[in-house]
């Protein structure tokens, strides 16, 4: 293995605020040059973890290493990381140029070098002509670019971003996602981004850590998180998911026999152990609706359409199955009239292939 040493090592880090445990025994390695996302619902401790990396919060337990150096007791101004704040925190009384130059000035970089590096950084975020403006003459998106340039001009080992896109409108947010990824590729700096938006994390990150109540549930590439979630929480949090409770009937030769109410016993490929009560999950887009009972070999449940939600490119159909479980399925609106083919109250079958069934033991 020629694996590089991780740029950030988080080892058994816990953070308590009084009786609240915001971050609970978290261990993560973040690799050099990767775009890493901390993903999770509100209040799960993402910001707290990021602030511990930046040095604004101390760890209650555990240790953090950045670039091989232990960070215990190292103040934010001595860490090889820089942060882009959620509110951007652009200094209101300084011009764009002075904002970007600030981090160099306070550390005693020479005037000519400052001018050069600031210009370079402003070009990087397409603000070459805005140097003399004051922050109150900028749009929200431009202010964010200032915050980015101000951090990048320091040439940090790691750039930390706390919900950098949350203050932008939907269109701009989408555009900025791509731009951030391009930016990260061109500067080659490790990015750690905090977000509660799974689309954001999936579309931008090389890898993401899914957090829940201070605990890291899974660290993996987006496709793995989506197709192979390791727990009910991750399965449910990433994308839409149909979850069923099931029982293990037997495990042999890499095939797991499963019992679910309303279905005949079926087998799915599965490696690793499994026993007792498990969760069964299937993505909506991997299910199919049909008027007739599906072919043998597919798993099928009968139900009644309870809602049709139209999203333009696709529609989401809610199906209340006879066993009492509610399924969501998506259909692509391939022609202009295709949504009218399914109506509320229709009796339909929903089916999927055993291979697309996920087994969740947690």
């Amino acid at each position: 293995m020629t694996e590089q040493a991780p740029i950030i090592r988080v080892r058994n880090v816990t953070k308590r605020f009084g009786s609240v445990t915001a971050v609970d025994d978290v261990s993560i390695d973040i690799r050099q040059g990767e775009f890493f996302a901390l993903l999770g619902p509100s209040g799960c401790g993402k910001t707290t973890l990021l602030r511990m990396l930046a040095g604004f919060e101390t760890t209650s337990e555990g240790e953090i290493e950045i670039d091989g150096q232990p960070m215990l007791g190292v103040p934010p101004n001595r860490r090889p990381v820089n942060m882009v704040f959620q509110s951007y925190a652009v200094f209101p009384h300084m011009t764009v140029f002075d904002n970007v130059a600030y981090g160099l000035k306070v550390t005693g970089v020479g005037k000519s070098e400052i001018a050069e590096r600031v210009k370079e950084a402003l070009t990087l975020v397409h603000l070459e002509d805005f140097g003399r403006r004051k922050p109150d003459q900028l749009s929200g998106g431009q202010r964010q670019r200032v915050a980015l340039a101000r951090a990048l001009v320091k040439k940090p080992k790691v750039l930390l971003l706390d919900e950098p896109l949350s203050a932008l409108d939907a269109k701009l947010r989408e555009a900025m996602r791509l731009e951030l990824v391009h930016l990260q590729h061109s500067v080659g700096i490790t990015f750690v981004i905090v977000t509660h938006d799974q689309d954001e994390a999936l579309s931008m990150a090389d890898r993401a850590a899914v957090m829940d109540h201070g605990v890291v549930r899974q660290v993996a590439a987006p496709a793995t998180l989506y197709e192979h979630p390791n727990s009910r929480f991750v399965a449910d949090f990433i994308g839409k998911m149909n979850l069923l409770e099931a029982k293990v009937a037997g495990l042999s030769g890499g095939r797991l026999a499963i019992d679910i109410e309303g279905l005949e016993r079926f087998e799915v490929p599965h490696d690793g152990p499994a026993s007792g009560e498990i969760g069964i999950a299937v993505r909506p887009e991997k299910t199919r609706l049909s008027k007739e009972q599906p072919a043998a070999g597919r798993l099928g449940l009968k139900g009644k359409v309870s809602d049709v939600a139209y999203y333009g490119n696709e529609s989401h159909i809610l199906l209340d199955t006879d066993t009492g479980v509610r399924f969501t399925t998506t259909i692509q609106n391939e022609t202009r009239r295709s949504d009218s083919s399914i109506l509320i109250g229709d009796d339909l079958w929903i089916s999927w292939s055993p291979e697309d069934t996920l087994v969740l033991s947690e």
Partner: protein, 282 residues
């Protein structure tokens, strides 16, 4: 044809009074007038009669600058004015610095008994001035300090600090703490962060607080009266002592000077405040 809508509109406006158009109501106008008269008639009279060419303040005998000249050449009045400036200047400098620190500390830190500390620190705002004066006098006696300009200055510092602190605290309430964090994150030390980021934000509050402290000190009578020693007369006390002999236009002139200084400083403070408020909105 085209004048019709305009006319009907005008009629409507006369008939109905918007609930917010208080001034349309006669009794409201009357109240306003009365309060203006009660408030400003004495002051306007005082100023007007400072220009009256008569030894007594009863009838108007024509315009003159004579009493300003006289007041200016009155050596003891002149001294009192200089004393007042020294006291107000010094106490403003000190109380602005200390008050700013107090305001900042109360804004920033959490510590045990903070509520109590805050209440005690702001007590001088509500304590009757006479009590403050007596307390100061007793204190200076107890430590065997002779009354002089120094004792006056010290007491003025003591009673203006909380005013400055309140102003600074109000200013800091709108401060975004992540600005300081960003500065720190970009490599600045605590000290650099304070001077480059926090202090510039505080400046409007500092100016407002300083002007307030200056005006409060300049026209303070009660506390000064208790803490002034022989030969350390301030302007308000001098005016008072002149009054005891006779009410001459010279007193009016001196008072007018005080009014003008106070008003201009207040005006400056207000203009600065509105400028900054506008600057922030843009």
């Amino acid at each position: 044809m085209s004048t019709l809508p305009a006319r009907s509109m005008r009629r409507r406006r006369v008939r109905g009074t918007n609930p917010l158009e208080y001034l349309k109501r006669p009794w409201m106008q009357l109240t306003l007038l009365a309060s203006f008269v009660f408030l400003y008639f004495p002051i306007v009279t005082l100023i007007a009669f400072s220009f009256n060419d008569s030894r007594r303040n009863i009838t108007w005998r024509g315009f003159t600058w004579k009493y300003y000249e006289k007041a200016f050449n009155n050596a003891s009045l002149h001294d009192a004015f200089v004393n007042s400036m020294i006291v107000a200047g010094t106490s403003t400098l000190v109380s602005t610095a200390l008050g700013a620190m107090l305001g900042l500390a109360l804004y920033r830190y959490r510590f045990p008994w903070k509520g109590t500390y805050e209440g005690v620190a702001h007590l001088p705002i509500v304590i009757p001035e006479i009590c403050m004066g007596v307390a100061m006098l007793v204190f200076f006696n107890a430590i065997n300090m002779d009354l002089s300009l120094i004792t006056i200055t010290v007491s003025h510092i003591a009673f203006t600090i909380p005013f400055v602190a309140v102003v600074i605290r109000a200013r800091m309430a709108g401060f975004d703490v992540s600005l300081e964090e960003a500065s720190h994150d970009l490599g600045a030390s605590e000290w650099q962060t304070f001077w480059h980021i926090t202090f510039p934000y505080m400046v409007p509050g500092l100016v407002a607080g300083a002007l307030m402290a200056f005006v409060l000190s300049l026209d303070d009578f009660v506390i000064t009266f208790f803490t002034a020693g022989v030969g350390s007369t301030t302007f308000p006390i001098k005016i008072y002592s002149m009054l005891r002999f006779s009410v001459t236009p010279e007193v009016n002139a001196a008072s007018t000077v005080l009014i003008v200084i106070t008003l201009s400083l207040t005006l400056i403070a207000m203009i600065m405040q509105s400028r900054w408020a506008k600057g922030r909105q843009e």
